[in-house]
Symmetry: C2
């Protein structure tokens, strides 16, 4: 895959003189590590969405906030765009560099500044790895809940930028629900504190606004997160179904029974076979779908909930239900799920991972719709996803070396996302928009809504120097892309004004 | 109390010709109920902060969204400010009218549009009363968690505008954590959808930005909230202490023990006596402080948690612990707390209610600080508050008819809020800034932060016509007020740039 068909920026940026910028930044921030030779820049040409590659003009690796502040001020004065990057594990190209921009890599800010077991908070530099937070909190019986698949590598700063999720979001929320305060630097190099350690902060909720803003509003330099007590126990049930839609309906039934599982994941036959072939997780390869339902909390409750869920699954038509007998089996069940993406990757030269979310009740309908689209486009689609919160991850299998298949895969992906929007969902749940889904934003939002996003962006960064060309499309791009705002099929307002 | 000392608007608005505006609005929206005679306007001259009174120029009582949209468009064209009002129960003067503005009263939008028991959501018009949501959800075993004291009267639209809280916020979050989608009209009369029924919405988190924005960004016309399953049981413990600071420490101990109570409230001796005298709740009138700790969930857990909390309270030095024997006694314990404000009101001609929040660990220190300030200013202060989430409600008792006492009360209140900010807290937890605390915003935020708020405001309402003079002070006001940004006493950054 390449981005030749999509390598233009939204809006025009003046041509930038790399040598002059390098000289000026070296003068202004003499102790800053600045990479500028092609061989040094090469490792930074993409993030986790490796299909998109751009060689950055320069890479900055600051170690102090003063360096970051001065760098931002100078870039602003010079009119040079800045893309901030954490660990580079993002899946939507949010940290894709710019040929004419500086890539600001925050990985050296990797200190855990404080763990407060009484307040149950951790104060962190942005480069701290997600899993390192839970490791540092473990001696106090605490952990950090959001757990993206990349948690061993991804950084908390990137998690804030993308509002990252994970298996446990259904019960414990996304990043935005687990961050209480951030320190940021604006493009003017000014420091702001958003949120507070207290219940609430007055004024507008800029903390939530920053979370998920994909580096377009400022640079996060410190993060305070909530820690949660580790559940006493966790047990997992695996249910098999002979029909994908039945499994989809069972998801809603579990929630309707008053249970909020710690994780509620679904895989279809293609994903089951791929995972089993790769990991030997003990999955039933004949099943059309499985649900993995993890229940966590105090022992007695978890046992009660397991019984309830078992009854619901039986009533929903499960053909088999297996409870992991011990921690080893529980780990194996999850290993299959957590390695499902690479497992599917082994089945096909290329795959394209979508991240649409839908209201839970629409699962059966959308699964059916995806199957129909898969047939119509002649491309296989494996489904493996966070069913409990309606966050789907259809994996479209294709071979980029076969004439036209890439375009077919992209077209099929676009159709799937439009289907998600149609039923009242959205084009991304936890991966962000980045560069990848910028065209689909035109389907998600009306021109008025997109205009408002730009106005909010301008409140922080009027020259649009922070991560331009990501997240929010220009209206010109939407017109060029030919995208139409797709209205969700909500009940019509009886007294809605017709504009 | 009066607002003669504080009745100016921030920024200048041109003089507006009432008769001309009335005529033009009557022409543009002929079927709109528009009040304009003094006797009709009088009932709208204040909200729940009755000390501040301003007669609005006009009051609009629309019944259709088309009327609201047209009204907003016309007001914008005429340069007439608009203050949106829900039920008018707010405690910070957020819906205080403007002499030169239209008061847009949303109370006629009072329909519950949909309850979806499977998705556990309710779709509401903004004028629906808070308690009516739980009443409508009750047949499904569901309820709406945020429960401001005014829940019998306040409306969900006002709750969104003020990000309202309540006794259950500690466990179930503020309004922002319980709203998933809103429909809004901009000052241009354009409709926008913020948030979604799915897990997450891409783009900037404008839903969180709107929640708590006090009517400064747009008019909320429809709200979708989360509903929660009603806990199987709830039990309440009342603990007495011979020392306020000990009670404050016990609050942190309970949370540190891994318990998140459904409610964790504290009252000091003055509040206890007032409530007991008024309600006969069965409170120990000799105690220096009581804690009310409610535990909710499934029966077995709640019993376990009651035992744990009892042990923690004993270790923290409680002089007595009483568990409500039945629902009637539980209701009585809560009735004392819920009526504490009017109870204190009976003890004094006037009282002034603060709403500062602090990190929980600072409770003992801040309680001591309030006692010292109370003595220094010679005014009694009753404390009754949401201790679990550090949301304090000091009630300053005074007599406005005594020369200088109002000013003393206001000065004492300001000092208490500054103390809250100093320890890393904020000037408001759940009441909002409104008109009341606009000067204290200058202590909470730096000039850069306030400038950013204005920039965000301008992204939605460049002419500053929506609720001007509330929530966000001008820098000119801060200079005039002489307020200094108070830095929280956080650990200094080792590598912080010095600007």
């Amino acid at each position: 895959m390449n981005i030749l068909h999509d390598d233009r920026l939204d809006g025009e940026l003046p041509r930038i003189d790399k040598a002059a910028v390098l000289a000026e930044l070296q003068r202004a921030v003499p102790d800053l590590t600045l990479l500028h030779r092609e061989e040094d820049l090469r490792p930074f040409e993409c993030d986790g969405l490796s299909a998109y590659r751009v060689l950055p003009m320069l890479v900055a690796l600051p170690e102090t906030l003063e360096q970051v502040a001065t760098l931002l001020k100078r870039c602003r004065a010079l009119g040079v765009p800045v893309v901030t990057r954490g660990a580079g594990t993002g899946l939507s190209g949010g940290a894709l560099p710019l040929e004419q921009g500086v890539l600001l890599v925050m990985s050296r800010f990797d200190r855990i500044l404080d763990i407060d077991p009484d307040a149950r908070t951790a104060r962190l530099q942005p480069g701290v790895r997600n899993l390192a937070i839970s490791e540092a909190a473990a001696p106090y019986g605490l952990y950090y809940a959001p757990d993206p698949s990349s948690q061993i590598a991804c950084s908390i700063g990137g998690n804030v930028a993308e509002n990252a999720g994970g298996v446990h979001c259904l019960k414990y929320g996304l990043t935005v629900h687990n961050v209480i305060k951030v320190e940021v630097l604006t493009i003017e190099g000014e420091r702001m504190t958003l949120g507070s350690e207290a219940l609430d902060a007055p004024g507008f909720d800029l903390l939530a606004l920053f979370t998920g803003s994909e580096g377009m509003l400022g640079v996060v330099t410190e993060i305070t997160v909530k820690l949660l007590p580790k559940p006493e126990t966790a047990k997992v049930l695996m249910a098999s179904f002979d029909d994908v839609e039945k499994a989809g309906r069972a998801v809603g039934d579990i929630i309707a029974a008053g249970i909020i599982p710690g994780g509620l994941e679904m895989m279809d036959n293609l994903a089951i076979r791929a995972a089993e072939d790769f990991i030997r997780a003990g999955y039933p390869v004949e099943a059309e779908a499985i649900l993995l339902c993890e229940l966590d909390g105090v022992e007695a409750d978890v046992d009660d909930d397991c019984e309830t869920v078992r009854r619901v699954l039986e009533a929903a038509g499960a053909t088999g239900i297996q409870q992991a007998r011990d921690e080893a089996e529980r780990a194996k069940f999850w290993a299959g799920r957590k390695n499902a993406f690479p497992a599917v990757g082994r089945m096909s030269p290329d795959y394209y991972c979508m991240d649409g979310t839908i209201p839970r009740r629409e699962l059966p309908r959308v699964l059916k719709g995806i199957a129909d689209l898969s047939e119509a486009y002649g491309l296989r689609v494996a489904n493996v996803f966070h069913a409990g919160d309606g966050n789907m991850h259809p994996l479209i299998l294709f071979d980029a070396n076969r004439e036209g298949e890439l375009e077919q895969a992209e077209a099929l992906g676009g159709k799937i996302l439009e289907l998600c929007v149609e039923v009242g969902g959205s084009i991304t749940g936890e991966h962000g928009v980045g560069r990848e889904k910028i065209n689909q934003m035109c389907a998600q939002f009306s021109p008025d809504e997109i205009t408002t996003f730009h106005a909010v962006k301008a409140a922080f960064d009027p020259e649009r120097l922070l991560n331009p060309g990501k997240n929010i499309p220009t209206l010109a791009r939407c017109a060029e892309f030919g995208a139409m705002h797709v209205h969700a099929n909500q009940l019509p307002h009886p007294d809605l004004p017709r504009f």
